[in-house]
Symmetry: none
Subunit: 209 residues, 4 copies
DNA sequence: TATGAATGAGACTTCATTCAT
DNA sequence: GATGAATGAAGTCTCATTCAT
């Protein structure tokens, strides 16, 4: 931890430092097995200092998730793009961006792990995730597919598609990497294959080429 | 817990009863937040009794996973089937069975959650899972696809496919249900769509029939 | 603490041992300033042991009061005595017994101190004390005085007497001894003077003689 | 806290403001359960400021008691009055004034509670209270009674009276109100009854008039 | 085998106090 | 003088584990 700056600057930076450290420690051991002291040690302060900024371990955890989990997906952007081009292009762009936001982004990726591990204990987390992320993403996919069907760009059968099917590989990839970091999937390539896969199904003549 | 049988029989059954109870409790709260007493209470014995059968909480957890996580997937079965029919049929059967084993089976489904939550703390679990489940499954998929390519049943491009892409939706489905049990996916239908999806990509003329 | 007896016997005696120790320590320092460890040390066990028997420090304190505060005053006894003799004799007997129960009894005496010190924090204590002790005692005094007036044994003016005035010296004595144990009042004599005092006021001809 | 006056004036007033706030907070929760921050908050300053004026929490508490506990009873006044009138009148005046000083005065009343609660921990308090209040009061009562006996105004038996008996109802009243504020005694009337009571005993012919 | 009282290490949290600004 | 960030000691409570019975 940088010991530079005036006291005022240090103070300003403290909350974020703590959230960062909390993120690392919670990621490593999970909520219950991480002690506030672990986090304090990582920041280089004492336990008491943590409580100057956060009222409880629970509050620290939730603040950490709120602060670091910033899903950078803006549904309206993709939907508006629909009127300027092919649905498949919008969908492709959306999936690539979703990949960046869900899999590549270290925070979001890890937070999806917290969700699996702690959602039972942190009902709020589940609710926030659903409302701020899961539902909008699914609605967007659904809308794009429907639009593609209406314009005749996609097969009729596509209309019955569960939108979660188009998302699930990303979630699966995420989880696989959490379960076993050594199990290296060529992730970039994985998404492109995933997209290609989708095109074969959705587009009227198999692959778009 | 069935209260039937002689005392001797019940004693015989004790270890399994304990593992069952451990499963329920660990599922509910996670490893760290579950106390040995929770488990003892559920079985109807005292904490001390747990230690008659298991040397430690860790050992109990690991035993529970080993005992209850019995992936009922036999790779050799599907591989041998390849010589008696179409690759797509083998693959279809395999995926359906994998769905049963991974998603429908309560134990395996929950254990995949444990893996996400605790793999960092239980390195052995990760290793076992990889060796006993992940790698064989991926190898089987890979083999089936390769066979389909060789016999000309599948497109040439299929050879480059990452086999994990074919599995990932199941993993994603599993996890989604853990994150949010209220997020109801029509799971049976989900798998069939998933299979159909794959056929469009793999088979030479879109969906075969 | 006696380290004798079988384990079973020791276990049986534990709760009372702990309550005793709690009484001594709480008396010495007050609720907030007494740590559970002080109490455990006095019993000769570790902190954890206390929590085997009591769910919290608060519960321990309340249990201690409930267990040790047994006001041995039975109102009905004095009231029934009224029909067999002079009101002044009943009153005298009552006050002497009240003195024994309030001032001489070490537990009740100390508990009145807890009430002064902690009633704000332990509302239940206040309620119990009022219902189980204060109100019955005052009602009894009131009844005896009224009876004496009706039979003509006491002056008419006595009817307007606040019964608390007859009790208050005992409460005052109690408190004085708490404030300053070195301030030695000749307590036995104090009560007899107090009774004499009352007779002068109540009885028609000054002192009963 | 009045927010008037120049800054300099307010600074001047700080110590007293703090003592006032300390009084309120300590009254509410007792010494141990009151945190310095509670007090600071009430004054509208930060914890650190408290330590500008007081060296420790203990010192603050003791200063508060010293500052606010100003028994407004001047023994010599009553003793000198003896030579100008009847002993019973002096005693009556004394008891009424004592009532004002002990029971009606909010500070003294509350401080007597602190004494009960904390005298064990604050030996100094006990000593001060004894020397500055208890002993002088008792000595005064004693002197008045003796004087009344000598002049023949009081019965001979009065000489053996424990002076504390004449004071104890006030102490008892005080404490009763602390134990249970809902237990409403008609306090003004209580004292007058108490005085009447005393006259019956002390004066040669029951109540004098 | 089974019990459950007891332990002791460690968790979260509070708070009087200090000190650089 | 005033601040408030930081500390560190201590307090309440939990729990995996042991062991005499």
């Amino acid at each position: 931890m940088a010991l530079t700056g005036t006291r005022a600057e240090r103070k300003q930076a403290r909350p974020r430092e703590i959230l960062q450290a909390a993120f690392e420690e919670f990621s490593l051991r999970g909520y219950a097995a991480t002690s506030v002291e672990h986090i304090a040690d990582r920041v280089g302060v004492t336990k008491g200092t943590i409580y100057v900024y956060f009222s409880s371990k629970e509050n620290l955890f939730e603040s950490m998730v709120s602060e670091l989990a910033q899903p950078s997906i803006d549904s309206s952007f993709y939907l508006s793009a629909l009127y300027r081009g092919a649905a498949i292009d919008t969908l492709t762009a959306f999936l690539r961006d979703l990949y960046k936001a869900m899999v590549q982004d270290r925070y979001m990726s890890e937070i999806s792990r917290f969700l699996v591990a702690e959602a039972n204990s942190f009902g709020d987390l589940r609710r926030k995730y659903r409302e701020a992320f899961a539902l909008p993403v699914l609605a967007t996919v659904q809308a794009i597919v429907e639009h593609g069907c209406e314009t005749g760009e996609f097969r009729g059968e596509a209309a019955d598609l569960d939108p979660f099917l188009l998302i699930s590989p990303l979630l699966g990839l995420n989880v696989a990497r959490h379960i076993d970091p050594e199990f290296k999937v060529a992730t970039e390539q994985f998404v492109e294959q995933h997209i290609l896969f989708i095109r074969y199904f959705l587009e009227k003549r198999g692959t778009g080429r």
